[in-house]
Symmetry: C2
Subunit: 472 residues, 2 copies
């Protein structure tokens, strides 16, 4: 079947000529991913409604075409771009734009092509927000497909915990539309099918619309930098903060001294907040937030955080080496600069890992000891969401990429992932999902019984090829 | 095959003689459910480990026996008892008792046969609890199988949102053990299979063990009774409380005047808290809690709640008719007596419904108007979890059951469920799950495409008969 044939078939069911871009047009925006993975698309489908998505997907199934769902294309595992064959169609959700706020239900019905920032701009006037806090600005479809967590996971949970409903289109001969879009918070009539479409990279169906839980936007915040006296001390500090702040504790982020140093060196406009400019080996960023405005007779949020730190200073275990309450904007500017900082420091190898909270510091201690014997040239410049066990485990190769980059990278990833999965029972994909970039590790670490279950689930939902990842 | 044959086969793989009770013994404790549904069991299997559960289940599959998983047997939809055929085996989890607390991960690994109260007693010394607040005292297995929510859903979510991992045994020829019991908070390596075993009444596999999220136990609380000036006013009150209390808001429970009246009349030891003893038509119970102890310079929790009520009194929309901050024990005693109260008032028809939050009051208004024209003899005495859209919609038939109870009940349930599902897009099973009692309504309201997916999922996981509910 020639390209002309299927393009004709697709045009027959499309709502408008804008729904299909073919290979005669500039498709590069849809072919290149956030971390510079680049493929070649046979064409791009851009449905403007769930119904059109269904009709287009049915044609693709009929014609045997492989479809790669894509929304904001900000992912970092090559999960939303076509491969290099030039035969895959990008199925872009970027025209699915509706935002319908339900104030009484504290929820929103939103198209998969709405950007997180667009959504939050709309919600701002209602004092609400979608509480997934990310460095990137993805679209909702991609957030569901990777089940992102981000910096306030500890307080608000991940995308899964904030999804009330979805509408999904299946890659079957009918392009079946699954309407699971009730906005109920409680509903137990059997299998919760929406879960299958969250965190699965679009392989089991394409989410076109979601109903999301919203939260009230914080009105006050206070931020501190804490230097623990030891790795163990992190848990003493966290336990006190969780008790004393309750859900006012909204972030507990770990930052290595190396990552901070690179940010201060490479990103303009940052101020070194530490005494004498001496950067500690390891720092915790703590944030407290409140949804209400300051109230008479109430301890201010800064005083509250100070009181908590005073209480921690007095613990018998002496978990603090240093602590300072600082200006939130300044501290967060530093936190948000870490990513750019570590990229500027050398060639970056980035890992998106998670552990049980109590195991995370053991992993980091192990790495500080054992990585140098395996890869003495690498510098650890990690940071991440230590309150929930997540870590962006970054390794920097000074002065640029090593010779034989591909071989080196494979050896490094094999080693780091083995330590993660086998020694510390962690996850090699905390919140970035599965794509071509880490597909081989999915194959390696996934038990056969799970692959078998995944295959049956795939056959039952979307038997046709769909997505860049493969789960069986 | 005779009973002797399969009992012999089961005994061959059992760990001890206590693992199997046969029909010569008194099985009534396993045959009778919480709401007096009673069946007849061919026998009871009581494995003491996941491995034994696997071996026993494999024999059942081989012998073609139908197995009904059961833990605390406190469910109310006939989902954990055998039918009257005398051919079904109860698969009791009541010997799976381990409790292994992980303080740093703020989680616990717990056997399916541990009672909620046992778990919380163990956690108490650590200042932690499993935050699902129920009137009953179920075992963990049943809580997962129904995905219960309860009175603090608004603050803590349901069982699903607090489950980090499960171990499940499948009803296939191998009695396959699925170990999904990592205690990670972040992990996105494809399908989150544990979701399939939550809220599905054991039909897809038997959960023998779970890893659960824990929360810090509240140290302070304040409680108020609020009389809204109209149905609409409920939402104004809720919006202010969610903003001003943040996550200190831990309950927002609706109580009809009828339910309160029956509790005060029928349950000894309660005090009427209302001015002149006049019971309003509709009351909201509001609770604020804090995980920390009272702190110097801080607004007390009672003063905070008073300040919030004062702010609500001053709203232009005048949403309050009355409000009083009262003694938590006294107010909760009344709340917890509602269930017994409405049972004493006449013959009770109980419905476990949920709606979008903004639709719940519309449903109640509709019912107050339209129920009397269909069923003039019934009294509405509802109460429930209005902060999340859930309602225990109770209807009382004064003076005892109507003549022709079965016919009457079917007509009533048909009508209430049609209004719930079709007019108000709600759920006929908010948190009680599916069992023989509401199986027919599952069949009626579930789209064919979902039944087809459920069937494929069933074939892929536990192809043999398992559980009292059927999802296809």
């Amino acid at each position: 079947m020639s390209q002309g044939d299927y393009i004709r078939a697709l045009r027959e069911v499309a709502q408008s000529s804008g729904s299909i871009l073919d290979s005669n047009q500039d498709l590069s925006a849809y072919e290149i991913g956030a971390r510079h993975d680049a493929g070649r698309a046979a064409g791009v489908l851009r449905p403007s409604s769930t119904e059109e998505a269904s009709r287009l997907l049915a044609v693709c199934v009929e014609q045997g075409l492989t479809v790669i769902p894509q929304s904001g294309n900000t992912g970092v595992v090559s999960g939303s771009t076509p491969d290099e064959s030039g035969t895959q169609l990008v199925f872009s959700l970027d025209r699915l734009k509706g935002i319908d706020v339900n104030l009484r239900n504290r929820s929103v019905r939103v198209g998969a092509g709405v950007r997180l920032s667009e959504l939050n701009d709309t919600l701002d006037k209602h004092g609400l927000f979608f509480p997934i806090d990310l460095g990137a600005d993805p679209m909702i479809g991609g957030m569901l497909s990777t089940n992102t967590g981000g910096g306030r996971f500890l307080r608000y949970g991940d995308v899964r915990q904030n999804t009330l409903g979805v509408t999904a289109v299946l890659a079957d001969p009918d392009g079946t539309i699954l309407d699971l879009s009730q906005g109920l918070r409680k509903n137990n009539i059997g299998v919760d099918w929406k879960q299958v479409f969250i965190g699965t990279m679009g392989s089991f169906g394409i989410v076109t619309e979601a109903v999301l839980n919203l939260e009230r936007r914080p009105q006050q915040s206070a931020t501190a930098l804490i230097v623990p006296s030891s790795d163990e001390a992190v848990y003493d500090v966290l336990a006190v903060l969780e008790t004393e702040l309750g859900s006012q504790l909204s972030a507990f982020e770990g930052m290595s001294g190396n990552a901070i140093r690179h940010a201060l060196n490479h990103v303009p406009g940052l101020r070194n907040p530490f005494a004498n400019g001496d950067i500690p080996d390891f720092v915790i960023l703590v944030e407290a937030t409140r949804t209400w405005s300051p109230r008479e007779g109430e301890l201010s949020i800064d005083d509250l955080l100070e009181a908590c730190l005073a209480q921690i200073w007095e613990l018998d275990s002496a978990p603090l080496a240093d602590a300072l309450v600082g200006r939130p904007e300044e501290i967060w500017a530093m936190r948000h600069a870490l990513s750019e900082g570590v990229k500027s420091a050398g060639h970056l190898f980035a890992f998106d890992l998670a552990f049980e909270r109590g195991v995370l510091m053991d992993f980091l201690t192990y790495m500080r000891t054992d990585l140098p014997s395996e890869f003495p040239e690498l510098e650890i410049c990690d940071f991440g969401h230590y309150g929930d066990g997540g870590v962006h485990f970054n390794l920097s190769h000074p002065g640029g990429p090593p010779t034989d980059l591909a071989v080196y990278e494979t050896r490094l990833r094999d080693w780091v992932f083995d330590v993660t999965m086998q020694r510390f029972r962690g996850s090699f994909s905390a919140e970035h999902g599965i794509g071509r970039k880490n597909q081989a590790y999915f194959q390696k670490y996934t038990p056969e019984v799970i692959k078998r279950l995944n295959k049956a689930l795939k056959n039952a939902t979307s038997p046709a090829p769909l997505g860049a990842a493969q789960f069986h």
